[in-house]
């Protein structure tokens, strides 16, 4: 388990860096259409920002920032957004994951609808990857032994 050392420089630097990393994660996600990037890369960055906080402080602080239940909901939400988008396309009458069907509910043509569908599923990937990275890290770092720290 990671114990807190109370080093003022590391802690404030980590706290200072975190929003920038998160902003960059969102940049990588939303610019994924026009530049290298996308959901997975953004998700790893987003997860890394939380992991940085946990390393600089400790697991208890990390748990305070992103609670267990919230993390669990996020875990499932990402895949749900992805497959839900696919299911929506299916309900709208197309094949599974055929985003051009989204044109029926969005004020755009089928090609733009595909672009927006891509964005939607990338957001889903980002949420899941970020949440799972944090979740796996916390599970491995605490080794399941310090349950009280995870409450």
């Amino acid at each position: 388990m990671i114990r807190r050392h109370e080093d003022i420089i590391i802690e404030s630097l980590a706290r200072f860096l975190t929003p920038f990393i998160q902003a960059f994660a969102l940049y990588v996600l939303f610019l994924g259409h026009y530049s290298p990037g996308g959901g997975f890369q953004g998700g790893v960055l987003m997860g890394a920002s939380f992991i940085l906080l946990v390393i600089a402080y400790d697991i208890i602080e990390g748990k305070r920032r992103i609670t267990e239940k919230f993390n669990i909901v996020l875990n499932a939400t990402g895949v749900m957004v992805f497959s839900g988008t696919g299911l929506l396309c299916l309900i709208l009458g197309g094949e599974f994951l055929d985003y051009s069907q989204l044109a029926a509910i969005l004020p755009v043509g089928p090609e733009e609808a595909r672009g927006l569908g891509i964005l939607a599923v990338e957001i889903g990937v980002e949420i899941t990857v970020a949440a799972i990275m944090v979740s796996i890290f916390l599970d491995l770092a605490s080794a399941g032994e310090h349950e009280e720290a995870l409450k």
Partner: protein
Amino acid sequence: MDFIIAKYNYWIYIILMMIGFYAMIVKNNLAKKVVGMNIFQTALILLFISTGVKTGGATVPIVIGDAHGHAIPGTLHAIDYINPLPHVLMLTAIVVMVATFGVALALLIMIFKRYKTIEEDEILEIRRKEAFT
């Protein structure tokens, strides 16, 4: 010579892969096996990525277009951009690799809690002793 220049990159990936494979099947320390697994998969990713390369001025697979980034239809030619498909496949493979790695580490923690060691021969020794008692 041309033959070597044209193929040596594959050979390097194969040698890397075999280093990982050797670690996976021979190493006694379970953590080293997991590391070997990672080397194997990473080398495999390199092998795949190398199939997407095109020499002769091809660039990254992002359209160089107008102010909005979009291209005029009909101006794009396959020869100008490298093949995007291996990159896509390997993004998926990287995630699979990370997932396997996470599960393997979780199992290692369970094994260490149970036997207090991650050396395979010591674990087998413990199992043999426990089977008798």
